[in-house]
């Protein structure tokens, strides 16, 4: 089966994933994307989401909190702001972040940055989703 090289790098943890994979499913700002080997050149921005990586018959999930993805026929490069494997996700932190962000959005004060709060909410949601934590 054809494979494509996937590399995920973050600014503070280095290269957290590097492997030949069969397929990558992720979400860009334009919607859900499935990348197969020999994909055309593509550059896009990612939303916070849980990526599904198909490799060697199995499937791995990795959370990315947004960033950029460059695809060439041989290689996918993901520059993530942060990326975590499900085991590394801090559920408590994600929960409190979720709480904070939704409170901020609920208040709708003028002095808060709505975009930022929404981004934080999306990140927390995606993190909780991987862990299967119900969102209240």
């Amino acid at each position: 089966m054809a494979t494509i090289l996937l590399e995920i790098a973050t600014p503070d943890k280095g290269e957290i994933y590097k492997n030949d994979i069969n397929m990558l499913i992720t979400r860009s700002i334009c919607g859900e994307l499935g990348i197969l080997p020999k994909h055309a050149n593509l550059l896009t921005a990612l939303l916070p989401n849980v990526m599904r990586i198909k490799e060697n018959g199995g499937e791995v999930q990795i959370f990315v909190s947004g960033g950029f993805m460059e695809v060439t026929p041989e290689k996918i490069t993901i520059l993530a702001d942060a990326a975590e494997k499900p085991d590394d996700i801090d559920v408590e932190r994600a929960k409190s972040a979720f709480q904070r962000a939704s409170e901020r959005l609920a208040k709708k004060n003028d002095d808060i940055d709505i975009d930022r709060a929404e981004a934080a909410l999306a990140r927390a949601k995606a993190r909780l989703l991987v862990k299967g934590v119900p969102i209240g």
């Binding site: 600014p11 280095g14 700002i29 055309a40 593509l42 550059l43 921005a45 950029f68 060439t72 490069t77």
Partner: protein, 370 residues
Amino acid sequence: MANLQHIRRRIKSVKNIQKITNAMDMIARSRFNAAREALLSNVPYVAKTKEIMRRVMTQMRGREYEHPFVKTRADLIAEQQEGAGKFLFIVIASDKGLAGSFSSNVFKSAHDMIEYDGTDTGSSLDDDDDENFHKKNFDALKGIKPSGKRTPKQQRQMSATGSVAKATQKGGATSKTNVNVAREYNDADYVDGIELITVGRRATTHFKQRGYNIIKSYHGVSERPQYKYAKEIADIVIDRFDSGEIIDVTLIYTQFKSAISCVPDSVTLLPIVTDDYAKASATLKEEYIYEPDVVTILNDFLPRRIATRIYGAMLHSAASELSSRMNAMSNATDNAQELVGRLNLFYNKVRQAGITNEINEIVGGANALE
């Protein structure tokens, strides 16, 4: 003859200094490990961003009008001739001293870059780096004959190069002294067209003393850089670049090569000149698909790239600072050790001389009694 107590006191003070330098060495060592770790985990990210950047910019050739940060050299020169934008330099040095020549090396490189007059050839280590445009830009600009009305900036450069030529005629001075002469002659002109952002207390004091216009400085972050400061600097830079106040942004920092080799380095952050990516174009011919479209992506990607570079430079600088301090302090400790040895020898000699003297006196006294 030196007296014993005096020597004893000196030995003690040298030993105390040795204790301090030794402690500083150890502190620097442990912080250095953390800084190196941070740097190493940042390197792949920066390298990948650079790679993507190179490919995207290759694609952008001939389509420069699509984004304000991207220009051809010809456009850049044309714009610089009519507009009177300033040059901005970001200088990253340390907060504290006692790191050998770390800071002064950065300043030297910064002055070479800021007062660059076209005479200094190839002192920078990254001549093979595609992204050091400042000199290329300057050289290209210099080659143009001044048109009827000159802009302040051009005047600045023309008068700078002019006075350097004069200085060279007067006496075969080296390019280093040329720079100084140029600075003395044109201080006001120079300073007017330049803005600085400094990271590190030492950088701030150094450039403030020399009358430069520092628009923002960051203190207390040099050893442990945080991304948010890099982001802040990037935002300021992009803001000012967008409004046309500045037309050229150069970053000066110390590149960490290994624990014994840290070299000052400079890179141009803005504008991004596509001519310099010509080399890569042979390898990649296919068009990119941009989702949703090229301007939206670049609007996100370029500021990110700039912030990433600044952050990377801060990490390099932190690791360099700490490794310089480590070297300086371990040298100081060794020197102190040697000095203590020598002083001890001297002390013993003086003591022995004193004893011999006393014996001589006693023997002399006894002889005299007989």
